[in-house]
Amino acid sequence: MKRKLIVPLILAGFLILLLNSILFQVDETEFVIITQFGKPVRVISTAGLQVKWPDPAQSLRRLDRRLLLFDPEAGEFLTQDKKNVLVDTYIGWRIEEPLKFLEAVKERPVAEIFLADIASATIGAALGNYPLSALASIDPLEIKVDQIMEEVSAKCRDKAGRDYGIEILQVHLKRLNLPDQNKESVFQRMRTERERMAKKYRSEGEEEAIKIRAEADRECRAILSEAYEQAQKIIGEGDAEAARVYAAAFNRDPRFYKLVRTLESYTKFLNEKTTVVLSTDSELLKLLTEGKSQK
């Protein structure tokens, strides 16, 4: 009994193997190509369960039908104005005609080599027609990145579609850079630019400072001189009033004023250092010599 169970078990095993070789599943994300003794005979692009002849007769190849991204190495190119630029791109592509693809390139790594070649050549040719300012400029009218990449994409699309059954959706510009050596000189320029700015700021500061100081000085002197003017005016008024008062008083009898003032002056300028030489003729001493005779 036990041994007899083995036979159906083995049969079932074979059946499963056979089914496995006949039935196959196609995913939404892939094409399946049925090859008959190595020769492609059928492309299945609808997902689901499918049938084929068992394995040695027909076998299958699966190809991705999704959008694939390929990031080739960055390349160095020359622009129209003879500037070296490093351009890094990425390519969105998908397999459009599975049969052609299988015949022409067979596998994805091979396809990527082809794509890299096409892209590099086309970008080189396209960039040669544009100046660097078409890639980077503050003037939006000069920028032509979209146009360049569209041109490149169109050319690549043509070639890849015709030769490899590949649809290139778009060649995208990912990174734009300069070769290290040029980069260093750009840095140098940036540095000097900044130095210039720094100098400018400092001198502006000085300029401004001098202006402010001069202005302050000017204002200061203006204020002071005005003050002097006012002060003198005031003093003058005082003098005038004083003169008026003096005149009003002294004019009553100028002779008397002269006497009073003269006498006052005497008291002021005759001090202990003065040596007075008096003549006996003088009014003061007349009596000294003539006294007896007069009295």
Partner: protein, 567 residues
């Protein structure tokens, strides 16, 4: 006896095989009647397994415990019955309510179903014949049951033929079979409930009623049951190693592979043999699909904020040893961020370089595109973001990027990125582009810092000048006031002096007028007295000498005179 048993086992195996084939055919053709037929056969197998397991159980377990186990078994049987009933209702609802489905691959289905009919017909005949020869009523009953299966398959086939000539009877056939399945389910539940209520053995009822199908006379059912029991007893003898239990569990596990949970914020896509069933996918909740390998499920979170870092990478492992602050010249060697200069250094519109670190946040907007259209959506987002950043930065001057124009630039980048992703049908919605860290490249940071210092210096110089001004002007203003007050004071002083002197003069003058001569002389002499007293005086007689007067003569000694002069 041996022959009988072998046939019974072979028939179960063949039934399983037939169920498999029918399921396959159902997938290929989308025919609901074939699916119903398959489920019908499956429910039969389920019932048989239930009976077998129950019997095995009753034989294996000690008598004292059987009563309890029986109850458990009855309840399981009710559950199975409900399950079968549910399947029937679903098929019926699908057949009646659902839109008529387009059937495909009809020829294959026809051939397959025809094969099934042949096989079940053959098995049925074999069972009936052997059963009669061996006088085993249970086998005969089983044979008639198989024949029922055959009839239902024939019904399905006629439906398919109708489909081929343009008459779609698929739904009707499915509905009929659903009724059959429902009958089976009800029978199971009925039997189990009855057994539960009576406290008798479930198997006895089934052996009496189920294996003795209505087609077989009910009078001899009990004996048929005894015969079936014999088969079971033999099986128990053969399978002492309890092969059947693990097998049952494995089958249950297999069936449960079709259960799946979609968490809040997620969506799931179900694929049947690789083909997408419903492009809009399933929302959150508990769902069922057919077990592996028929259906497969793939789910993804729609609400999760995904992020891509450009120019740097967060290193979760280094979080412990973070640096204190990130400055422009940080080289990001330690700490949680690692720099990626090849991503972050870019060319500005005025041909300078700038170092920009960016974070892009995105969500899945459309699950089908996200999972099926693009091989690697994350790389696409990252590359497209790098592209967008560079395109926008290449239009802006360095100083704007460093200072005022950030939010506008972020918005522009978002627009460009959005366009690229839409063109590639990636099913992605970018929610935010954040310029995380924008600064000049390391190589020129010093020069930029110098500019900042120069700007400070400028301000410092200006401030110093203002300080000077603030020092000088108030002082001057103070001086003005001082001068004016002083002048005012002098004015007053002079006036007062004048007035005083004038008054003094006037007073004197008043007296003078009264006695001119006397006053004049008095004043003269008083003054002379006052001023000449104590002075050194020489009195000279003018007639005494005609010679000019030599003062030295009076002083006596030269030295003293000189002294006096010097003093």
């Amino acid at each position: 006896m041996n022959l009988k048993v072998r046939i019974a086992i072979i028939s179960v195996v063949i039934n399983v095989f037939l169920v498999g084939i029918k399921f396959l055919l159902a997938r290929w053709t989308y025919s609901s009647s074939i699916l119903a037929d398959a489920i019908h056969s499956l429910s039969d197998i389920l019932v048989s397994l239930l009976v077998l397991s129950g019997l095995v159980l009753s034989i294996l377990i000690k008598k004292s415990q059987t009563a309890r186990w029986r109850k458990v078994e009855d309840i399981v049987a009710i559950a199975v019955g409900l399950f079968i009933l549910l399947a029937a209702v679903q098929i019926f609802a699908g057949a009646v309510a659902g839109p008529p489905k387009e059937l495909i691959r009809l020829p294959i289905a026809l051939v397959g179903i025809f094969l099934c009919i042949l096989v079940s017909g053959f098995v049925a005949r074999l069972k009936i014949r052997v059963g009669e020869e061996q006088s085993s009523r249970s086998l005969v009953a089983d044979g008639y049951h198989s024949r029922m299966d055959m009839y239902s398959s024939i019904g399905v086939m006629s439906g398919l033929v109708g489909g081929m000539i343009g008459l779609n009877l698929d739904a009707q056939a499915a509905g009929l079979i659903a009724l059959l399945i429902a009958a089976t389910g009800l029978e199971v539940i009925y039997g189990a409930v009855k057994a539960l209520l009576r406290g008798t053995s479930l198997e006895e009822y089934w052996l009496a009623n189920l294996f003795g199908h209505p087609l077989v006379g009910s009078k001899k059912t009990w004996r048929l049951g005894r015969k079936s029991l014999e088969i079971i007893l033999w099986m128990r003898h053969r399978s002492r190693s309890l092969v059947l239990w693990p097998l049952g569990i494995i089958i249950l596990l297999w069936l449960s592979s079709g259960l799946y949970v979609v968490s809040p914020g997620e969506r799931a896509l179900v694929f049947r043999f690789g083909r997408l069933l419903d492009p809009s996918g399933q929302g959150p909740g508990l769902h069922v699909h057919l077990p592996w390998p028929v259906d497969m499920m793939q789910k993804t979170s729609m609400s999760a904020m995904r992020r891509v870092e450009i120019g740097f990478r967060t290193q979760p492992t280094n979080w412990g040893e973070d640096v204190r602050s990130y400055q422009w010249e940080s080289r990001h060697i330690v700490g949680k961020y690692t720099k990626k200069p090849e991503e972050s250094i870019m060319f500005t519109g005025d041909e300078n370089f700038i170092d920009i670190n960016t974070i892009v946040q995105y969500q899945v907007a459309e699950i089908t595109s996200f999972l099926l259209h693009v091989e690697d959506p994350e790389t696409l987002v990252k590359s497209a973001a790098e592209e967008a950043i560079r395109i926008v930065v290449a239009m802006e001057p360095l100083d704007d990027l460093l200072t005022s124009e950030r939010s506008r630039v972020e918005k522009q980048i978002l627009e460009v990125l959005h366009k690229t992703l839409a063109n590639n049908d990636a099913g992605i919605k970018v929610t935010a582009v954040k310029l995380q860290d924008v600064h000049p490249p390391l190589e020129v940071v010093d020069a930029f810092r110098e500019v900042a210092s120069a700007r400070e210096d400028k301000n410092r110089l200006i401030n110093e000048a203002y300080a000077y001004r603030n020092e000088v002007l108030p002082r001057a203003r103070g001086n003005v006031v001082g001068e004016i007050h002083k002048a005012e004071a002098e004015k007053q002083e002079r006036i007062h002096h004048a007035r005083g002197e004038a008054q003094k003069f006037m007073a004197l003058f008043g007296e003078y007028q009264k006695a001119r001569e006397v006053t004049e002389v008095r004043m003269f002499l008083e003054t002379m007295e006052q001023s000449l007293t104590g002075l050194e005086k020489f009195i000279v007689e003018p007639n005494a000498s005609k010679e000019p007067l030599d003062l030295r003569f009076f002083k006596g000694q030269e030295a003293e005179i000189y002294e006096g002069v010097e003093r």
